[in-house]
Every structure is written in structure tokens, then in C-alpha cells.
């Protein structure tokens, strides 16, 4: 390229390829470190399990074979799916409320001033302490469990959306004003896209909190997977116990990972980076 040229090589050219190779090398190294660390953890578990005995810590083999087969043959699948159904209902409701509310809180001063103290209060409230209260008006059925998931999942999507909308740089607000956009157009074309990375992080954190809410709700009223876990622990069927815990964590990781993937996609399209993984 000559000094006077203002053309920048498109990302697909040679420089892009070299950059991609560097990235690939970095990624391989990252995964090598992770694999080594995981192997060490599993080894430590195995050693501890052999010394402690099956009444305290099942071996890896026992979790993988006895635990997993127990999960599928002992009728745990239905309560497991039931738990996730409750999670999805609760989480969907939470998002349907928190994202629009977050946009409102981020955009207008009055709702922000009036409502924000309560939102912050929600953050410091130990949510589990509210459960007896929730049982009072929601009973102990699906409604209760859904309400608990909503309670747990409420904070992050709400606050992140509000922050994202508020931080829509003054400059972009100026842009929408100088182009005389209607409020609706400004939201659709500027505010919401600008806040999307924040919203997605909020959704991801909210999902993690919702999974906790799901398990805690069931432990309280002893239904679904919570009840299964309680009984398994009581009767020291620890292989199955850990198998289920691992399945829950794995599924939650999978879902948050999918959300993370969407964030990366958007970041590649030039949107503000949504942060480190």
C-alpha cells in the first residue's frame, strides 16, 4: 500500500489471514490450559473419592455409569424436565417484564428516580428469605416455583438493560435528535441496538440466577428435581445425586454458552464488545 492510499485492506485479505492464524493459535493455547486444569481437578476428585469411600464421595466412574444410568431408569427424567419447564416459564416472564422496564428506567428520569431504590433493594435482599412469603400467596405448586424463578432472574436483565440504555452515549442521542427521529424510531434504530450487548449480558446472568432459583424453589417445597436431590442425598445415593447436579450445571452452561455466542456474533458485527469470556 502506498502512503497516499486511504484504502484499508478488507479483513479477508492476507493481513486478515495472518491475524486469524494468530487467533487460532491463541485459542488452542487457551483450550490446552483449560484441559490441563480440568484433568487436574478430575484427578484430585478421583483421589479424594477413593480415600473417602462411596458414602461420602462417589468415584468418577460410578457417577458416569451408575449415576447416569440411574438417572434414566429410576424415573428422574420427568421431574428433571418439569424443573426446566418451570424455569423457562419463569424466565420468559421475567424477561418480558424486565427488558421493557429496564428501557424505561434507563431512558426517563422520573421512573428512574422513583423505582431505582427498589431495584437496588432487590439486589441486596437475600431472595431465599422471601420464599416463606411467596408460599403464602402462591402456594406450593407450579405458580410458586415460577414466581421464585422470576424473583431470582429479575435483577440482572433489569439493571443491565437500564445501564445500557442510559449509556447510549449522549452523542447517539444527539444524532437521533438532529435527524428528527420520532421517539419510536430513535428506540428502534439507535437506543435498543446500542443497548443490546448490555441486555444480552443481563439475560445471561439472569439465566444463571434463574437456574439457582429453580433448584432452591424445589428444595423448599420438595417437588421436581429438588425433591429427587433431597431424597438421593438422604439415602446416600451419591452417584445419582452428582449425576443430576452435573446435568443441571451442564445444561445451564450450554444455555449461557449459546447466549455468549450471540454476544460474540454481535461484537464481530461491530457492536461494542460485550466483555471477556
Amino acid at each position: 500500500m502506498t502512503a497516499t492510499s486511504t484504502v484499508i485492506a478488507p479483513p479477508s485479505r492476507a493481513a486478515g489471514a495472518a491475524h486469524a492464524a494468530t487467533l487460532a493459535r491463541e485459542r488452542r493455547r487457551k483450550w490446552t490450559y483449560r484441559a490441563v486444569f480440568w484433568a487436574a481437578l478430575l484427578l484430585a476428585w478421583e483421589v479424594a473419592a477413593r480415600r473417602a469411600g462411596p458414602r461420602f464421595l462417589p468415584t468418577l466412574e460410578s457417577i458416569a455409569v451408575d449415576g447416569m444410568s440411574g438417572f434414566f431408569t429410576n424415573g428422574f427424567v420427568v421431574p428433571f424436565l418439569d424443573s426446566w419447564l418451570q424455569l423457562f416459564i419463569g424466565f420468559a416472564i421475567a424477561l418480558a417484564v424486565t427488558i421493557p422496564l429496564g428501557v424505561l428506567l434507563g431512558w426517563s428520569r422520573l421512573p428512574n428516580v422513583v423505582l431505582m431504590p427498589y431495584v437496588n433493594g432487590l439486589f441486596v435482599t437475600p431472595t431465599a428469605a422471601l420464599l416463606p412469603l411467596v408460599i403464602l400467596f402462591a402456594g406450593t405448586d407450579l405458580t410458586f416455583r415460577v414466581v421464585v424463578v422470576i424473583l431470582f432472574a429479575f435483577y440482572y436483565p433489569l439493571v443491565n438493560t437500564a445501564t445500557g440504555v442510559r449509556q447510549t452515549a449522549g452523542g447517539l442521542r444527539d444524532l437521533s435528535s438532529t435527524l428528527c427521529m420520532s421517539k419510536l424510531a430513535a428506540f428502534r434504530k439507535v437506543v435498543v441496538p446500542a443497548a443490546t450487548p448490555y441486555i444480552l449480558v443481563g439475560v445471561r446472568l439472569g439465566l444463571a440466577a434463574a437456574v439457582q432459583g429453580m433448584v432452591i424453589a424445589e428444595l423448599w417445597v420438595l417437588t421436581g428435581t429438588g425433591e429427587v436431590l433431597k431424597n438421593l442425598a438422604q439415602f446416600r445415593r451419591l452417584s445419582e445425586f452428582f449425576a443430576i447436579v452435573i446435568l443441571i450445571v451442564a445444561l445451564a452452561l450450554l444455555l449461557t454458552g449459546l447466549l455468549r455466542l450471540i454476544e460474540i456474533r454481535l461484537a464481530r458485527r461491530g457492536m461494542v464488545s460485550a466483555g471477556e469470556s
Binding site: T4, T6, V7, I8, P10, P11, A169, G171, L172, D174, L175, S177, T178, L179, C180, M181, A185, K189, V190, P193, A194, L266, R269, G270, M271, V272
Partner: protein, 272 residues
């Protein structure tokens, strides 16, 4: 110090021979701070004639951007008023285009998509937008990066996208806040030529903020000089070199003398 209509040796053309299109009347701007109000702009008054090219120079922080924002209607002044054409400014209007000092491009839209934003506002039919956007990008010499995202092009190029976006409104008035501040020296000269051509063809009224005295003199019919603390006008200088102006006008003795005069106004006490 108050506004002086001419400064030593500079020929003055009566500012009354065309009626004012932009009329800034005794505008004041202050921001509330903890102890007392900070006065950013005090008693700013000037007019810009219809079709005139007017530049504002002044030290950093003297309120140039604030003044432009007030003219556009992005910020209401604390006192005084601004009239543009027949209307008293109460908010932005589509016949005023604004080029931001900080580009303000949408990072999730392509370069062409950013220009199309203006076309959406003025109601260009959807099918005509890509072609139109492309035309305006060609005007600023960026047709070849139409499909790039802003993060993939240089700062100077991003700034030109901001210019294309304002031009796409085909406005009666162009308010430009250091539009070439990030553009490299050679491209800057090309952009100045291009801007003059557009201004002559479209007969729009331009208020152009810059730190570059030479740029201001080369482009303008008038140069307004501001001082800081509080932001106010200290000189209103008529630039009457005939148009079209050749690049060589920059080395004309009269041009050089005016440049020195403005430099002295901006740096009182430094002598010459």
C-alpha cells in the same frame, strides 16, 4: 472587547446587503455547578446571510461546539434566541444538517447504512436508499468502503461518513464542527475543494468550526473569532478573495496578513 466588524487593513463588505438567514441574538449559556453557575457563552450575537460560508475559530473550550449545538436546537440556550430562516429554533429541523466533532456513527450499521439513516429521516423510498447513499459516499470519496463497518475504517474516513450523512439530508444549512479534524492533510485539501463545490452547487448556508485558520480563510466569506471564559465574539472578519479560489491564494500576501491577524487575536499577548 466587543464585536468589531473589521480588523486592521481588512476590507469590509457591508453585512447588510443580504438578509440574515441565521440570526443568533444575544445568546447566553451557563451550566449549574456546585458553587455557582459557570458561564460558557455570554452575549453571543451574529448573523449569517443566506448562502454565506461562515467559519468560527477560537481557542479550545471557548464554546464553539456549544454555539453550534444551540443553533441546531440540540441544546436550548439559557438566554437569548436563535432564528434560522423564518423559524425561531426550539429543536432540530431536517433542513439543518449537523456534522459532529465526534462522528457519532452507528457501529452496527455499515458505512452505507449510516448514510441511509438520513435518507430514512427525509423519507427517501426504500428502494432508492442504497443508490443514494452510494452517491453521497462517492461525493466524499468513500464509495469503495460502503459495505464496511465503521470500526473497519480509519478515523478520518469515519469523519467523512459523518459528512456524507449530513449532506444526504440536502439541508439548507450545514453546521460543521471541525469536520476535517481527523482527516489527513492531503485528503483534507481534497475535502475542502469538494465542500466548496457542494456549497456552490447547492447554495446552502454553512457555519464551519475549525482550529485551522488557513482552512477558515480559504473556505469562508467571513471568519468569526471567539475568545474563552466566557465564550464571546471578538472579531468578525470579511474575507473577500474572489471565487473560485485557487490553492495558490494561500500564499497571497493579503491572505498571509489576515492569517497573522487572526493568530494574534487568538493569542493575545504573544505579539507577532
Amino acid at each position: 472587547m466587543t464585536v468589531s466588524s473589521a480588523t486592521g487593513g481588512v476590507e469590509t463588505r457591508g453585512a447588510t446587503d443580504s438578509r440574515p438567514y441565521i440570526d443568533v441574538r444575544d445568546v447566553g449559556m451557563s451550566f449549574a455547578s456546585k458553587s455557582d453557575d459557570v458561564i460558557i457563552i455570554d452575549g453571543l450575537s451574529f448573523t449569517v446571510a443566506d448562502g454565506e460560508f461562515c467559519s468560527i475559530v477560537g481557542p479550545s473550550g471557548c464554546g464553539k461546539s456549544t454555539a453550534l449545538r444551540i443553533i441546531d436546537g440540540l441544546t436550548p440556550p439559557t438566554s437569548g434566541e436563535v432564528r434560522v430562516g423564518a423559524r425561531t429554533v426550539t429543536g432540530p429541523s431536517l433542513d439543518v444538517g449537523f456534522v459532529f466533532q465526534q462522528y457519532n456513527l452507528l457501529p452496527w450499521r455499515t458505512v452505507a447504512g449510516n448514510v441511509a439513516l438520513s435518507l430514512e429521516s427525509i423519507g427517501t423510498p426504500k428502494k432508492d436508499r442504497p443508490g443514494k447513499a452510494r452517491e453521497w459516499l462517492d461525493v466524499v470519496g468513500l464509495g469503495h468502503v460502503a459495505d464496511y463497518y465503521p470500526s473497519q475504517i480509519s478515523g478520518g474516513m469515519q469523519q467523512r461518513v459523518g459528512l456524507a450523512r449530513a449532506l444526504a439530508l440536502e439541508p439548507r444549512v450545514l453546521l460543521m464542527d471541525e469536520p476535517f479534524g481527523a482527516v489527513d492533510a492531503q485528503t483534507r485539501l481534497l475535502m475542502q475543494e469538494q465542500l466548496l463545490q457542494i456549497w456552490e452547487q447547492r447554495a446552502c448556508t454553512v457555519v464551519f468550526v475549525t482550529h485551522d485558520i488557513e482552512e477558515a480563510l480559504y473556505l469562508s466569506d467571513r471568519v468569526l473569532v471567539m475568545a474563552a471564559k466566557p465564550g464571546r465574539m471578538v472579531a468578525d472578519i470579511e474575507v473577500s478573495f474572489p471565487r473560485p479560489r485557487a490553492m495558490s491564494v494561500r500564499s497571497d500576501p493579503g491572505f498571509v496578513r489576515m492569517k497573522d491577524e487572526i493568530w494574534d487575536l487568538l493569542h493575545p499577548g504573544h505579539g507577532a
